[in-house]
């Protein structure tokens, strides 16, 4: 089995309400090691050598991000933990926060040390408000322990907006504004939160940090594939018998996850990476889960043979239309146009030209939207056209027939 616990090592073992249980295992030893024996730059070199890449979906090399922020002037800097897990079908960060907030805090402490930040934030989505007190309590337990060199950590909460998981919108939100994306450059590592150099890391990315420091970058980079080191925590939902959270070595096959572990049957397709993710047909279930192939946020949703793919795509686009911040034209208007087309298609009122329009619009949105939301919104559309083009053809033929019937009936 490709399962391996690195990120979830302490989940279910430490008591998330009791720091002592974390300290009794190797808690905060990595942070102590870093402070005693390494400079910030050395920590960064270690993380770079580990090959750790961001786990939120974009996969940016973690050490490089830290280095950019570290080298960006000598002033105040910020570390943000992105706990705004909004990608459809993703709940692995919720599971981590519920079970092991202390490793996360240690990861934030090490990140802050490495980049030279005294202020850190955990941005939690309001949908997870039930974790707010747990997190705040964990932060204060750590602060009261008298561990030297900790950054000040504030737990801040969103108010319901998927886009705030996008890093620039997230910073706007912490600044008390509408969660609208910013254009880049400037990048956050240069001018981020309150105009200061900032790193934003996903919960799971930061969970890896203490383990890498403990065991060394060689240990970490021995796990996974050439371009995808370590493990990945997946959230499996949809048409499976055993939905839940699974941690797998990167490079494991999608089939192992959905069929062997989550026990899906009769699969038609799997959406990997949530609404912004890829739609993988059954024939490609042997695809490895890796940055080189398909990964995203770790959301894995199985669709069995009974599902209407076009309706799934319509739902996905509807989601983006509702969650678009509305700032740039291609995303704000493009998602709405796509909802109109796919809505007609599902109702049996598609036309041949719709396919070309969807393709053209997809390209425009991917190439010229301001942020990742608009850029990835058309992925499901394009993947479905590629792998399930026949479904669209059938639907359009039915539409032609139905329009004929309607015309005859008057």
């Amino acid at each position: 089995m490709p399962e391996k616990n690195v990120v979830l090592k302490h989940c279910g073992i430490v008591d998330p309400h009791n720091l002592t249980t974390y300290l009794a295992r190797d808690g905060f030893e990595a942070f102590e090691k870093v402070k005693a024996t390494m400079t910030g730059q050395e920590v960064i070199e270690e993380i770079k050598a580990s090959g750790l890449r961001g786990r939120g979906g974009a996969g940016f090399p973690c050490g490089l991000k830290w280095e950019l922020a570290r080298k960006s002037g000598n002033g105040q800097k910020h570390v943000i933990c992105n706990a705004d897990e909004g990608e459809v079908g993703t709940f692995k960060d919720r599971y981590i926060l519920e079970n092991d907030p202390f490793t996360l805090i240690e990861g934030i402490a090490i990140a802050s040390y490495a980049v030279g930040a005294q202020q850190a934030y955990i941005y939690l989505r309001e949908e997870y408000h039930y974790l707010f007190d747990l997190l705040k309590d964990a932060v204060s337990q750590v602060a009261e322990k008298g561990i030297l060199g900790l950054p000040k950590i504030d737990v801040v909460e969103g108010a319901g907006a998927y886009i705030c998981g996008e890093e620039s919108a997230l910073m706007e939100s912490i600044e008390g504004k509408r969660g609208q994306a910013r254009y880049r450059p400037p990048f956050p590592t240069d001018r981020g939160l309150f105009g200061r150099p900032t790193i934003i890391n996903n919960v799971e990315t930061l969970m890896n940090i203490p383990q890498i420091i403990h065991n060394g970058s060689d240990w970490f980079s021995a796990i996974g594939t050439d371009g995808s080191k370590g493990t990945k925590v997946f959230s499996v939902s949809g048409d499976v018998k055993r939905p839940g959270v699974y941690e797998l070595v990167l490079g494991s096959e999608l089939r192992e996850l959905v069929e062997d572990l989550a026990m899906a049957e009769d699969i038609q397709a799997v959406q990997v990476g949530g609404a912004a993710g890829r739609l993988i047909p059954e024939s490609m279930l042997d695809t490895p889960l890796s940055y080189e192939n398909v990964l995203g946020s770790g959301a894995v949703m199985a669709l069995d043979q009974t599902r209407d793919i076009i309706d799934v795509v319509r739902q996905t686009i509807q989601f983006f239309a509702e969650e678009s911040c509305g700032k740039c034209v291609p995303c704000r208007e493009g998602t709405e146009v796509m909802v109109e087309i796919l809505g007609r298609m599902v109702k049996g009122d598609g036309v041949v030209e719709d396919i070309k329009t969807l393709e053209d619009l997809s390209e425009v949105m991917m190439l010229s939207s301001l942020c990742g939301l608009g850029q990835s919104a058309p992925v499901a559309v394009l993947d479905s056209l590629e792998h399930f083009g026949n479904e669209y053809q059938i639907r359009i033929e039915q539409s032609v027939f139905l329009r004929g019937v309607r015309a005859v009936r008057g």
């Binding site: 108010a159 319901g160 939905p243 969650e323 740039c328 146009v337 109109e340 425009v364």
Partner: protein, 369 residues
């Protein structure tokens, strides 16, 4: 330090911080723009000025992207032209009004741009084009928001030049709208003797009322104008937190509270309303003592969320978007709440209820009433 770039095969030397647009203009290369004005800070929202930059996987906005040494830029490739046309086509799609054909009210930039890019009529359709009644309440500015293309120029001009902060963006996504105060008709004395927003509006969404009879001298005389608070200031970042506190205390944020918060943080009222209408857990209308949010995103949808929505409807007698007459429950639909392993799921206030079945709904709701 001098920066060398190549734009359309021409070598150009620029300076750090210079945008691609500025560098192109320097050598007489015209890049069309719409949301950009040289005297306003760029927003990058319209995507008309996109160009190709070698090595960049995506098109780049020329008005906000600084040049970097060695950049190779193409401003008129077929791909770039197609992207510009598409952005314009999308703007025209949802925009109602005869703007493209009617240039009587004032010269319409959308119209000029459409001719420049040799555009035909838009191929796209939307479910409901934006339509708002014409607003004549203000003796100084007439607003016809059906013609608005959300370029943000009025917002920026009012904020950065007039320094009045009358406008903001409200709501989100396709519903985004340029708002005044709590989305009220523009009827501000502060607009007297100003009208800068009208000059910056590219369409005829903002025009002078027929009765307007002022001279340019008067218009530009801002000395006597009442100054509105600027958006910089202390504790600005507390805005969302304050709105959330008010939401949980009063179950909505009222116009009065929005006014108070705006005053205490020294920001415009429209700015506060814009934030309040952006986030789905904030409401500008009173909600019930308990808020039910049934998840309708794909993992729950696949597990028959529709049935749960109907069951909630039966249990409390109201549909999504409504509040029971006794004020006990509000019923809303929400996007993914991250409880997909327990689909179908809902939030009641901040409690998760998962693995729902129709017969469990009444039971689950009992403990709240």
């Amino acid at each position: 330090m001098a920066i060398k770039v190549v734009i359309d095969d021409k070598e150009i030397t620029g300076y750090a911080g210079m945008t691609i647009l500025e560098a192109a203009e320097k050598v007489g290369i015209h890049i069309p723009t719409l949301c950009h004005k040289p005297d306003l800070s760029p927003t990058g929202v319209c995507r008309i000025c996109v160009v190709e930059v070698e090595g960049s996987p995506r098109a780049v906005g020329a008005c906000h992207t600084p040049i970097v040494d060695g950049m190779v830029i193409t401003t008129r490739s077929p791909k770039v032209l197609a992207l510009r046309k598409a952005a314009l086509e999308l703007m025209l799609t949802a925009h109602t009004g005869p703007c493209v054909t009617d240039s009587e009210i004032k010269q319409c930039e959308l119209n000029s741009l459409a001719s420049e890019l040799e555009m035909g009529p838009p191929r796209y359709t939307v479910r409901e084009p934006r339509f708002y009644p014409v607003e004549e309440a203000n003796p100084y500015v007439r607003r016809d928001l059906s013609k608005c293309i959300l370029c943000h120029r009025c917002v920026k001009a009012c904020e950065e030049i007039a320094k009045k902060n009358v406008y903001s963006i409200g709501y989100r996504g396709f519903d985004s709208k340029i708002i005044v105060d709590c989305d009220e008709p523009l009827n501000r004395e502060v607009c007297r003797d100003c009208g800068i927003c009208i000059d910056y509006c590219p369409t005829s969404a903002l025009t002078r009322p027929i009765s307007w009879a002022e001279t340019d001298e008067e218009k530009n005389d801002l000395a006597g104008a009442e100054e509105q608070p600027g958006s910089e200031g202390n504790n600005r970042e507390r805005l969302l937190e304050m709105l959330k506190a008010e939401q949980s205390k009063s179950r909505f944020v009222s116009p009065e509270v929005i006014g108070d918060i705006a005053q205490s943080l020294n920001v415009g009222v429209s700015e506060v309303y814009g934030v309040a209408t952006f986030y789905s857990f904030l409401s500008t209308k009173p909600l019930g003592r308990n808020v039910i949010r049934v998840c309708k995103s794909l993992p729950c949808y696949l597990k028959n969320a529709q049935m749960i929505i109907e069951s909630v409807h039966r249990a409390i007698g109201i549909g999504p978007g409504e509040t029971t007459p006794d004020g006990e429950f509000s019923f809303e639909l929400t996007n993914c709440i991250g409880a997909c392993d327990k689909a179908p799921a809902m939030l009641v206030n901040h409690d998760v209820h998962g693995n729902l079945t129709p017969d469990r709904i009444s039971e689950a709701l009992k403990s709240y009433s």
